[in-house]
Symmetry: C2
Subunit: 366 residues, 2 copies
Amino acid sequence: MITATERFKERLAALRASLKAVDGLFISSLVNVRYLTGFTGSSAFMLIGRKSAFFITDPRYGKDAIKDAGPCYEPVVIGKAKFPPLVKKLSEKAGIKRLGFETSASYALYERLKAAGLELKPAKGLVERIRMVKGPEEVESMKAAIRRAEEAFIKLKPYIKTGVTETALARRFEEMLRMGGRAQLPFPVIAASGPNAAIPHARPTGRKLAPGDLLILDWGSESGGYFSDMTRTLLIPGGDHTAEKKKIYNIVLDANREAISFAASGKTASQIDNSARYVIKQAGYGAYFAHATGHGIGLEVHEFPGISRGSAVPVRDGMVFTIEPGIYVPGLGGVRIEDMVIMEKGRARPLTRLPKDLRMNTLGGK
Amino acid sequence: MITATERFKERLAALRASLKAVDGLFISSLVNVRYLTGFTGSSAFMLIGRKSAFFITDPRYGKDAIKDAGPCYEPVVIGKAKFPPLVKKLSEKAGIKRLGFETSASYALYERLKAAGLELKPAKGLVERIRMVKGPEEVESMKAAIRRAEEAFIKLKPYIKTGVTETALARRFEEMLRMGGRAQLPFPVIAASGPNAAIPHARPTGRKLAPGDLLILDWGSESGGYFSDMTRTLLIPGGDHTAEKKKIYNIVLDANREAISFAASGKTASQIDNSARYVIKQAGYGAYFAHATGHGIGLEVHEFPGISRGSAVPVRDGMVFTIEPGIYVPGLGGVRIEDMVIMEKGRARPLTRLPKDLRMNTLGGK
């Protein structure tokens, strides 16, 4: 295992190697700043040239704000008013003519820097593309987040029964996931039952679980700044149309497994998306799967690469992403089964472990 | 009390009245969308012309996503790929030539819309300026949020004692404030003790409360989407330099009271800022008060107007903002006392009620 300082040096070197159309990059995304320096405060910028690299923060944090990454960056403490001219001055000092500007930043920031006389060139996702491939310590954090998420699910299970409302279930789940404040939630828990399960991003309502419900639970946890994200669908015995519910469950499960076994180094994200989509389409439910098959995950819950129709990124070792096909039938309900996988030795290996087969996800089932 | 639909109509009319340098406004801020429509989902845009007004969302939410605001807007459901040309088409339909663009939006969005051939004109804070003045139902929500925040503080008080760590205190406080998931936290609780209290935005550490500490607690709650924000500083008896700690406490309290009584219709935000700053400066601690005196608050925890040196906005009835002067002395500790006030009948009336005098904020004091 390399030291944290060496890790930050490697990341900076990778970023510099990606400076092609620009001489330098101005970084305003706090997630990117965290990735490059470990800084977790709420106000910092970076300016990266081919030789120089500056970490810019305000007096609240001061020069000691980055520790392990300290040797990589020259610290600069600013008063806010003088900010754009300072960036101009540092750019000149670093010999940067064409300065890359992250397009995730606000237009207001773009205007302020431009007014200071900087030659800005929109640069999309330079750091994000490096972040796609995770290092061992990042994977460890995600595994810890998954462990928290799966343990909370196991603790929640006895409370999942008819008569409980979606809201009550989601709140209890969130309390468990937060672990008394030690973990952040990447997003509010989705608990969608019965007809509500036909809405991919439903919010919990006062609806009570009832016999025959499909119940979609989509939840995440966090560890060391890294997130987990997974979904399981439970069937509550009883009710109508049981055969069709079981059928769509198993189609989604097939699609999930197919995409995981299909994913291999060199396949593009859109090919992986298609491998799940094809299973659902062949089963006659193509129109009921309207979202992407998955997404990268790490310091953000949605990262590059999207596992979607339009994404030509070839996957490779170290990438971590979700596989989450779904079928949503208005009136009947819906099924989504979401795992996190890591690319290792050319194949996708699931990181999430909770069982997926229907029997284990039928209430009262073993 | 007017109906919700009438309220949304009024807000739309106010926005239209502010369209001066532009023929229409493209809205991407979800907070502004919520303010204008009540929509609380994660994906929506609006296009406001002088006559037409569109609410644009995706198939996950559909045409029924806005209820009370429905009569004000023509709903448009989109597939994401066709988004910029759609905005172009709707702009033409609405007769908009110069389209205002919120500068809080990302540069990437600006680029995409521009590429579709729209004539964009940066428009800063049009909706935010309307949001500065709160209606009675907004004030009710903020009062409810404050009630939750103050009740949680009262419940927390017995746990504040020497030996407890900042982190433990902050976690317990956050659990109380979340009310089992019914309230969101606007920001993580600040619990800064002893020397840590000299850092205005400190994060909780493993430091244990000790005799002689000044303990800054800064916390918020939420109700109906509206936030509260307040700070109290507690003195733990014992330790050294008690006289100076009491002295800076009372200077900050004087500054807080002075700004609240100074604030009157027509005074500018910078004059109010200065009224607090002057008290601290006269007492010889000017260099130890490095932040602004306050900020507007509502659907966001920091809104217009900033109560700061640079803000020429005159305050007026219906505005809600914080008054939070502070003194931070490295090594010794710090004091901040933050109230929320509302402008009513030309004067500032405090909405926060917890006692501020030193005796009531001395541990073991009554």
